[in-house]
Amino acid sequence: MIATVALHVVWQRIAHPDHAFALALWRTVYISVAAQVIGVCLGLIAALMRRSRLRILRLISGAYVLVFRGTPVIVQIFFVYFGANLLFGFTLIPNTVPLGLFALSGAAFAGIVALGINEGAYMREIIRAGIDAIDKGQMEAAKSLGMTSRLAMRRIVLPQAARVIVPPLGNEFNNMLKTSSLIFFIGVTELFGDAEIRNSTAFQPVEYFTAVAFWYLVLTTVWSVIQAQIERALAPEEQGDGVSFRERVFQAWAPVAAWRTGGSR
């Protein structure tokens, strides 16, 4: 026998989460979501800059990907948290960020910024590929109807590209949920941090890290269900003629509803 696993500790961490844990879980979720949103926005901006007529914008977009995809995230996180204020000479990363109902710690803010900027470099490549995947005829048809390329991009190309982008975007967010654990190293007690702090006093690494792995699995599984829903909602023409997502849900429930109201079918 190598070691005895105190299963009741694992069970305790899974079935009876305490307040500190709940807070850590919540941090992981909102930090990941916020960073991903920033990443998508930056990625979109950079992808559009890459298509610009202005050479300087194309260069900036290229340099962005080169730097942030080519260096470790942990370096970027440390750089933003410890270095940004010194570099710029003003307070880019404050000690606390008041957000109405609750305040964000400076470390969490730095983490979101760093993860978001890093993510943007990957998202640029994904969004670029999504735009490139749309037939050139779509842009031409839109232009022939009098649209400017900006309007055509917004109304015709991007909505179609979104469908190509969502599956890899889902992978990215799955990654983000896990990568966000790195910001424990600048002192943000998120899911992994919570487990490590417990472990450092109890020294039961197998138990605590098994339990935290389980919770990460829960997060990524919930996300994969949400992702599947988004993908379906974005592909209306594959759902039959003019049937909305809500109508399809109703149809799927129709037999149950009929049974409950005593109707016969």
Binding site: D135, A141, S144, L145, G146, T148, S149, D241
Partner: protein
């Protein structure tokens, strides 16, 4: 119906090069209001390129193209032609409808949404009015019952008819057809040609690149033969098909008729 004041389309000496390849070697063409001109010729002769130059999907290297006496794609500055701003080119294109070989319907929009897209978002027409007009247009191409269907569920012929309705929704002064039936199964060509003929007889001004000689004979006011980047012959269909003047035209017709 024919108006002699100024032609709807006037192209003079249009030249276009792709790298070192001379695709258009000075094409001149006039189209009066209500006229339908069929542009025929072997593949690679420059028909499609010329059509794409008319709404400035391709830049031109020399010559000029005017629609309703307005220069397309360029602006005159100190006697020279410089490319116009994107916004103003876009505005010019609202007057020129185009139907593509591969339909290019917007797959994420229903037939009706395809038709109202540009009137609502380019012209700023109120949605209610755009829908009413779109329904009329879909009726005209025989697809009113397909208004809420996505392109993927339509046959090729139906898609192309929706594409025609979509172009007509902008009430263009000129319609361009780029081999509109070439990507269709044989049994669907007829339904699209019927719509095009009706349009021609209703007085639409049309420039039609086609391989359908039956259509050219029946619906065109004039037929022009293009070869190697030039228009080599142009005549009324009866004359054109019965007694082509050029040897090259005779050879081409003998191959495809």
């Amino acid at each position: 119906m024919k108006d002699s004041s100024h032609p709807v389309l006037r192209a003079t000496g249009v030249q276009k090069r792709f790298g070192r390849l001379n695709v258009l070697k000075g094409v001149s063409l006039e189209l009066r209001r209500g006229e339908t001109l069929c542009l025929i010729g072997p593949s690679g002769s420059g028909k499609t390129t010329f059509l794409r130059c008319v709404n400035h999907l391709e830049k031109i290297d020399d010559g000029r193209i005017e629609v309703n006496a307005h220069l397309i794609g360029y602006r005159e500055r100190r006697g020279k032609l410089v490319e116009d701003s994107e916004r103003s080119i876009a505005r010019q294109r609202t007057q020129i409808g185009m139907v593509f070989q591969r339909f290019n319907l917007f797959p994420h929009k229903t037939a009706l949404e395809n038709v109202i897209e540009a009137p609502v978002h380019v012209l700023g027409m109120p949605k209610q009015r755009a829908v009413a007009e779109a329904e009329e247009l879909l009726e005209r191409v025989g697809l009113r019952d397909k208004r809420d269907v996505y392109p993927a569920k339509l046959s090729g012929g139906q898609q192309q008819r929706v594409a025609i309705a979509r172009a007509l929704a902008m009430k263009p002064a000129l319609m361009l057809f780029d081999e509109a039936t070439s990507a269709l199964d044989p049994e669907m060509i007829g339904e699209v040609l019927t719509v095009m003929s009706e349009l021609a007889h209703d007085g639409m001004t049309m420039l039609v690149v086609t391989h359908e000689m039956g259509f050219a004979r029946e619906a065109a006011d004039r037929v022009a033969m293009m070869d190697d980047g030039q228009i080599i012959e142009e005549a009324r269909p009866v004359r054109f098909f019965a007694a082509p003047r050029e040897e090259r035209t005779r050879r081409f017709l003998s191959k495809i008729l």
